[in-house]
Amino acid sequence: MKRLPWWLRDLIYGAIFIAVLIGASYGMDAIHIAGIAYYQRIVVLMGINIILAVSLNIINGHAGQFSLGHAGFMAIGAYFAAFLTYFYFAPYVNRFPAGTEQWVLQNALLLVAVLLGGALAALAGYLVGLPSLRLRGDYLAIVTLGFGEIIRVVILNIDKIGAARGFTGIPNWANFFWVYLFCGITILISWRLVQSSVGRAFLAIREDEIAAEAMGVDATKYKVKAFIIGSFMAGVSGGLFAHFMMYLNPDMFRFLRSFEVVVMVVLGGLGSISGSIVAAIILTYLPEGLRLAKPFLHIEKDPRMVIYSIMLIVLMLTRPQGLLGRRELWQVLKRRKDAPKEEPDAAARN
């Protein structure tokens, strides 16, 4: 059988993916069980965390640059997208009568807002990526962390977007469909990136920057590139988050949020895309799932976050290389012969 041309094949896969998403989102709306909204909400937040983890995995896992400022990029995307819809797009959309036209316009403008939020975050990522030309390892980590905090304090001082009161009244435009659509796009970009020459350059820089430069890889260019791509996706997830939660507060984007994402990436295995996804799902559900433990403990206070932190430590102690190491899920499941062996990471240890 003759193989289909690549664009046709991609188109078919894309159409199937979108059809499945639409089906799933209708399916989720159709279920009417008491308390289901809570689980639907967790599923959407999972999707947002998957975008965050996979995008951070590009910076931390593939390019080996240690960034602790992902919440900052997310905040930029969230606030900028919310700013656009609240002040410009929503008043415009509301002029139309409710109906198909308004629905189409609303979703198109959501897309525009989210992408513009991502673009601004990418610009910030470019600016943060620049010092990474000079800084390495932990110094870069603390600079990105500081950058995230600076963003938070700046937002805290802009009165127009709510400052410390928080940004309320953002229209609820994002939903399961949009979040998982972008989830799919992020995973696709990340996967294609690893396969491409850019991804190879990332890996070379991660393994040994000096050797990579000696081989003619422009390390500076690729490091900045990793930051731009990763922060763009973080900004997109922020925009979706804003339109899903309908409320933003600078405290949502403290560095603890960045830590959470880093934990997802490392726990899943640095450089493993499916690992990031699995860890994002587990770590989003874990604090919620631990609520179920409370009735069995016969104590008044809720110990779920204590259990969560202990589980985190134990998981890391038992699997220091992450759940999947550097392999992808199917490589771990199938134990294929060509799967890379797990080796302790010599470069990261020193």
Partner: protein, 305 residues
């Protein structure tokens, strides 16, 4: 002029606390190349030990305020906090970091974050999430010097911080243990080949750093009596910035960095940009690192292939 001196004094008092925390960060980083994110929360733990011990002391003793007894009690409370935190530091290293010594470094960073979460959420669970008010361990006086208002607490903070920094300076540069510590921090492998018990040295470094954090916690409790389980996050972060600023791994650098951050913060909060105070430490950090990537006193190490 008056405002200048006032800001300077306040800044130094805050900076001294940052410096004490930064010392723990810088020693641990120097020896293990690990950002011990839990360190800020050990500081919180020290504060809470002081809180409960102080309340116990006040409830079970006659009124001793104004007498020498209260100073002894305060000293004993500080010692208790140092011992508790030192023990915690030891256990922390033993359980969460030592098993990962040969694993990728990022793994121990994640356990550090895990321990930090454990202390924060555990603190909220055990102590309760609401703020507590640190008892006045010794009598508080307001002092006036030529227009500058201060309290004897600020002076106590300064004196105690200087004493402990001097002790640390002596330990690091004047004792056999300090020499072993510097050797391990210079090269882990060669130090262990030279017969230095590296594991024990690392444990003791953690104990030392955590004890200093406990001192900082008590001093913080005295000067800003509102304490809560999340109080360690921001000072911890700023202290880390201070350590990086001074050149991480460098003991005098951490002190200078801490004081510098405290003073600059105090001046900014006294100016019309006071809203941006929480961010200023990071702005300075980024500014400095762009021009001196290894911090103020850090040695720049050229990379060898």
């Amino acid at each position: 002029m008056q405002a200048f001196l006032q800001n300077l004094l306040n800044g130094i008092a805050v900076g001294a606390i940052y410096a004490l925390i930064a010392l723990g960060y810088t020693m641990v980083y120097g020896i293990l190349k690990l950002i011990n994110f839990a360190h800020g929360d050990v500081f919180m733990l020290g504060s809470f030990v002081g809180y409960y011990a102080g309340r116990f002391a006040i409830a079970h003793m006659q009124d001793t305020s104004g007498t020498w007894t209260s100073w002894f009690v305060a000293g004993a409370i500080m010692l208790l906090a140092m011992m508790t935190c030192g023990l915690f530091g030891y256990l922390n290293e033993r359980i969460a970091y030592r098993p990962l010594r040969n694993a990728p470094r990022i793994a121990s960073l994640i356990t550090a974050i895990g321990v930090s979460f454990f202390l924060e959420y555990g603190g909220q669970f055990v102590f309760g999430p609401d703020p507590k008010f640190f008892p006045e361990l010794v009598e508080k006086h307001v002092l006036q010097f030529g227009g500058i208002t201060t309290t004897n607490y600020q002076l106590i903070v300064l004196v105690v911080a200087i004493i402990f920094m001097a002790i640390l300076q002596y330990i690091v540069y004047g004792t056999k243990f300090g020499r072993a510590m510097r050797a391990v921090s210079f090269s882990y492998e060669s130090a262990s080949l030279m017969g230095i018990p590296t594991d024990r040295i690392i444990s003791l470094t953690f104990v030392l750093g955590s004890a200093l954090a406990a001192v900082a916690g008590i001093l913080q409790g005295l000067s800003y009596p509102k304490i809560d389980p999340l109080m360690g996050i921001l000072p911890g972060l700023k202290a880390f910035v201070a350590a990086v600023l001074g050149g991480i791994g460098n003991v005098p650098g951490a002190v200078v960095g801490g004081l510098l951050i405290g003073v600059i913060e105090s001046f900014v909060s006294g100016s019309r940009f006071s809203n941006f105070t929480p961010a200023i430490a990071f702005v300075i950090l980024i500014g400095i690192l762009l021009f001196r990537p290894s911090g103020l006193f850090g040695k720049y190490e050229a990379e060898k292939v």
